[in-house]
């Protein structure tokens, strides 16, 4: 997949990402919805790398974001600058994630999903149990917004612009990864990892790499989410959150760069805008999920014929029959 093809959409995205929060700066609520969307775009990119391009459905994604959030919040409280705490938190989370996920990377398909479900349950239980570190069920409230190294506070629109920067960088990174030979190897693994192994690809090592990078996305997302909302608790990072992010990728169209971005942009505002319709909100969401899976198995991108044909990877053998997604 050519990097060049994506430059124009990237430009459009950057314009929107920076432009919308500025346009909405007067209305802090809509700006907030915008900011949450940007965080979800970042998270969806990480999930897309793992699910869309490597074929792994990691349900512990939110747990990893949570570990990063808690670590960076505690480091900030201890006096460390947010700009150090955030990458440290993300690294800690990715390392822990790789450690926890390492044994499970040998598993394929649905077994990996189940394993990740168990790991997520362990993480959530851990968040509640190790209340000395996480403050347990009560959560940590009044998390302060960071300031730039010069001392300028990031409250208000500047924070959204920071989120826009992260989201844009995240997408750019994804584009670069996918276009590289690393990305092609991942797609080969997604299509048929037995074949990939036979072709000389060290499947476990590639999966590990994808896992680490995907977890970094999750970790960064978690670290910027905490000060923005001002509050974290175990429930902010449970399996339902992982499923939500996964849904954005599946809904938008996995295996495409922009499908998940559109998915995040469309699905994030839904719970906020439906706050008045609380009686039917969950039902609508459930129907949406069912609708997508029944009618649009390749997501929106697939429906709009934007999804690459399965098996189109250069590394996969041309003789292999097409697989349904």
């Amino acid at each position: 997949m050519s990097v060049r093809k994506n430059l124009i959409p990237l430009g459009v995205f950057v314009a929107l990402a920076y432009g919308l929060p500025l346009a909405l700066a007067g209305n802090r609520y809509l700006a907030f919805v915008c900011g949450m969307t940007l965080i979800n775009v970042l998270l969806a990119c990480g999930m897309n790398l793992l699910y869309g391009y490597t074929g792994l459905m990691p349900l512990m994604f939110a747990g990893i974001a949570g570990i990063s959030a808690y670590v960076s919040v505690r480091l900030s409280e201890a006096g460390l600058s947010f700009w150090l705490a955030m990458p440290l938190g993300a690294l800690a989370a990715s390392s822990l994630g790789v450690l926890l996920g390492l044994p499970s990377l040998r598993l394929k398909g649905f077994y990996f999903t189940l394993c990740s479900l168990v790991i997520q349950s362990v993480i959530t239980l851990g968040f509640i149990y190790f209340s000395g570190f996480t403050n347990g069920d009560t959560g940590i409230a009044q998390i302060p917004l960071p300031s730039l190294p010069g001392g300028i506070s990031l409250a208000g629109p500047p924070y959204e612009l920071m989120l826009a920067t992260f989201a844009s960088l995240g997408i750019a990174l994804l584009i670069a990864l996918v276009g590289s030979s690393f990305g092609q190897r991942l797609v080969a693994i997604r299509e048929d990892d037995g074949l990939a192994e036979a072709l000389g690809i060290d499947v476990t090592r590639q999966k590990l790499g994808a896992f680490f990078i995907g977890s970094l996305f999750a970790g960064l997302g978690g670290a910027v989410y905490a000060p923005y909302l001002g509050f974290v608790s175990p429930r902010s990072f449970d399996v339902l959150v992982s499923l939500n992010i996964w849904l954005m990728v599946a809904f938008g169209g996995r295996g495409t760069i922009w499908g998940p971005v559109v998915g995040a942009a469309l699905l994030t505002p839904v719970p906020f805008l439906l706050q008045d319709y609380y009686t039917i909100k969950d039902v609508v969401y459930g129907l949406l999920i069912i609708g997508v899976i029944v009618a649009l198995p390749s997501g929106l991108a697939g429906a709009l014929k934007l999804s690459p044909r399965p098996g189109a990877s250069k590394v996969a053998m041309r003789a292999r029959p097409e697989k349904a997604s």
Partner: protein, 396 residues
């Protein structure tokens, strides 16, 4: 003469117009944001709160007064949605104040928003101590804090049996941790001994083994604080294994709990802040009980009462300080000076410098339970100042 007659209709018109404008402005409702749990794990408590609130509205919005519009928003029992909802109510609906959450974590999320954005926040239900930690300026909590609750249990047991042995058995949730923290602090000071301390993870189903352990420890009293249906299960399993009903103390008992404990639990104790069986219900309290029961098929407990009372004290503050209706700071100041009583039970409402209320609790003993409701008698009452124990240190 001629000029006078021409001047009169104009003056009259001006008067009517002026009165009309004044009336229009006076009629613009005062908005209070009410973000509560209408879906999610605490949907029952949010719905109960709204039911209590609604019962207060006819009186609160009686003719002739500037109406108060309670803008109700669902927070899905999710702190993230509670924070977003607060922002929505603040920015979009431009509410004067926030209120509504019943769960500790959602109320903490709203608290963070309220304090940061200087929005008065009147918490009807939600007992977590940190809601009024030192430095809180905009938050006012009606329900006594959970650590104090634990303190009060110790006082209650001390009054019945000095030197008693206690067994604690509870679910690992924020509320339970806070209650047990207060109890564990006060117990040695009250001469009580905690023999057994068992915490269940969230999602536990069966307590038979733990019940057996409690029985083996032969305590005088068992303090049971389960979550949801599990509370029932623990209670039943304790009773199955031979614990006597009057050995069981529940820190809180709302109507559905008491009805589920059933006839089997006659003799057990529970704590409450308002109950249809209180010894000294005011006439309005009795009417509240009757009306609520008629509308909702069950007698109200303290959740419904607090939401009812919250609406009333907001009205009271606004009536006494009309300037506060459009100014958050003035509303906040007026609320902090409030000195009144709960209309349903006569208990005083006074807030300290952090917005915490002078605290109190009733302990009831179940006498009988049937389909319609239940009878209980009030056996203990105590009051205390929130900082009689180092409440903000015990639970973070």
């Amino acid at each position: 003469m001629h000029a006078e007659r021409r001047g009169l209709p104009i003056a009259l018109a001006a008067l009517i117009l002026g009165a009309g404008i004044a009336a229009a402005r006076a009629e613009e409702p005062i908005k209070i944001g009410f973000t509560t749990e209408q879906t999610g794990a605490w949907s029952f408590f949010g719905a109960s709160c709204v039911a209590g609130l609604k019962l207060a509205l006819p009186q609160v919005n009686a003719a002739g007064k500037r109406p108060i519009d309670f803008v109700i928003l669902d927070n899905q029992t999710q702190p993230a949605q509670a924070a977003a909802g607060s922002r929505n109510l603040d920015v979009q609906s431009k509410v004067l104040a926030l209120s509504g959450p019943t769960s500790s974590d959602t109320s903490l999320a709203v608290y963070g928003y309220a304090e940061q954005n200087k929005v008065p926040f009147v918490v009807p239900v939600a007992a977590f101590p940190q809601l009024t930690k030192p430095g809180s300026r905009y938050t006012f909590r009606l329900e006594p804090d959970a650590a104090g609750w634990g303190y009060a249990i110790a006082k209650f047991v001390e009054s019945r049996k000095p030197g008693a042995k206690l067994a604690l058995i509870y679910s690992d949730y924020a509320l339970m941790r806070a209650i047990t923290a207060g109890l564990k602090y006060q117990a040695p000071k009250s001469g009580l001994k905690i023999e057994t301390d068992i915490a269940f993870p969230q999602g536990a189903n069966d307590a038979t083994v733990q019940a057996a352990q409690v029985v083996a420890a032969a305590p005088d009293y068992v303090i049971v604080i389960g979550a949801g249906g599990f509370d029932m299960t623990i209670t039943n399993q304790l009773l199955d294994l031979g614990i006597k009903t009057d050995q069981i103390i529940h820190p809180f008992g709302i109507t559905t709990q008491v009805k589920n404990w059933g006839k089997r639990s006659a003799g057990s104790f529970y704590g409450t802040f308002f109950d249809s069986n209180l010894a000294n219900l005011t006439p309005e309290g009795k009417k509240f009980v009757a009306d609520f029961t008629a509308q909702n098929n069950r007698p109200p407990s303290y959740i419904e009462n607090y939401c009812y009372v919250t609406a009333q004290i907001i009205r009271q503050v606004l009536d006494a300080n009309p300037a506060a209706a459009d100014d958050r700071e003035k509303f906040r100041d007026a609320m902090s000076k409030l000195n009144t009583k709960e209309s349903t039970s006569g208990i005083p409402i006074v807030f300290d410098k952090n917005g915490a209320r002078k605290e109190y609790i009733f302990f009831m003993q179940i006498k009988d339970v049937d389909e319609k409701g239940y009878q209980a008698s009030q056996v203990f009452y105590t009051e205390w100042d929130p900082e009689v124990i180092p409440v903000y240190e015990l639970v973070k």
